[in-house]
Symmetry: D2
């Protein structure tokens, strides 16, 4: 996919399970870190928001795993963020292996921002910065 | 749901994130461990199968997160396994908080068994033992 | 060792690495969870203390790993807590495999309580409850 | 310290605990990944060695934690490897925060290579490549 944001990294040895492949829970970790980097590039720090009473939480994960990442392989996580309804951020995220460009996993991760004081979802203006699909394209390498 | 298999445990301190809640990737860990316990109760050891050339792998995860588990809370994972088509095991798995019976997360996790030699999915007879819905009901506490 | 506190559990499938053994970082997780259970049994909740400005932090770990835990094995973590000097809690912690009583790992984990306001270690009275070596002996199973 | 090998990275959001700091078990993960990168740069793949009957295992960890890494901070892991006796590799490893050069953690991690067939430690010649202290200096960024 043509993506707004990409994050590149490499499989770490402790992420490998007894079958020699990355345990699928780590794919959620990769997606979370990639989203955190996107948020940060828009000036949004999840920890600070928490201390201000706003929690960004995952409400739904839909992930298809196509093939496996193995030890030492490099990969790129692509992230596109769109608004769904008035309150939801839908993050389309793909993990692509570097080298053969194999699609490893493809996910649609839905995030909402919950105000702890009001006990319900809100949509702070700052989140709109994430949606600037046409004008932004960034690569984050860490 | 009325479940075939249940696994009970308690949130561990290192599973809590900066927002004070269990990171969603740990829910996948809970589901995986619950499935491994079910498999084991049917005489299937994932590690042994791997060494015999058979890998049980997740191909799809669909998880809705309804509310959050917090430090020290107890929970039960319910698991029902059904066959879909000729090759897929669909594991319906719920995490329920003990005490208030709140539904934390609800997932449909699809597993296939891949033969490394044949390079494609297979369905060994032993997997049928997982499908005995009407006759079995077990509680595993660890 | 004759221990003040014990916590029993079983290896979870996702804790196993490519060598078929529990990755050593998980032993630190087990130790942390065992300490959290001890603290909790004395009325100390690490999360609450954090929100009151007090952080319980590890300052030193000395762990010898004698043999390995494998998939599905049960184990017990023994914990004894003693005071060292005026500010340090030294937690002697052993992981013992159930069945053959093999010593898996043996650690001396040093914890201090830091007051964020004062920017230095403190020793709140409540911590003395952890030191009642001769009068308490508890088993926590979760 | 003047180090043979360095590995640079950044704290990932899911590594942060309820106190807002990196959980100490992740420091062991960082050290392990840094060692795996060093091994790989010398042509040693831990997974392959396992399949050839040789397991590289940690037998002792001595880690002092001086201060904490927080969300989004960058760090460098420095690794120096020396032989101790006939069979042990002692890995001196430091985590240094980028920016203020603060020493986060300082460890002496001892590794042995176990032959599963012989049931005891061995020292394959290939490990000598790790010890070329004076001639090698590498930076690995991933």
């Amino acid at each position: 996919m043509k993506s707004q944001f990409t994050w590149q990294s490499v499989v770490r040895s402790y992420e490998i399970d007894v079958q020699g492949i990355v345990n699928n829970a780590h794919y959620l970790n990769y997606f979370e870190h990639a989203r955190a980097q996107v948020l940060l590039s828009c000036g949004i720090d999840v920890g600070n928001w928490h201390h201000q009473g706003l929690d960004l939480v995952i409400v739904h994960i839909d992930m298809a795993i196509k093939t496996s990442l193995r030890a030492n392989q490099q990969f790129v996580v692509h992230t596109n963020i769109n608004k769904q309804g008035k309150l939801r951020l839908v993050c389309e995220q793909h993990i692509i292996r570097t080298g053969d460009d194999a699609l490893i996993a493809k996910a649609k991760n839905t995030v909402v921002c919950v105000s702890r004081e009001r006990g319900k979802p809100v949509f702070p203006d700052a989140l709109n910065a994430l949606l600037d699909n046409n004008t932004r394209q960034e690569t984050i390498n860490v």
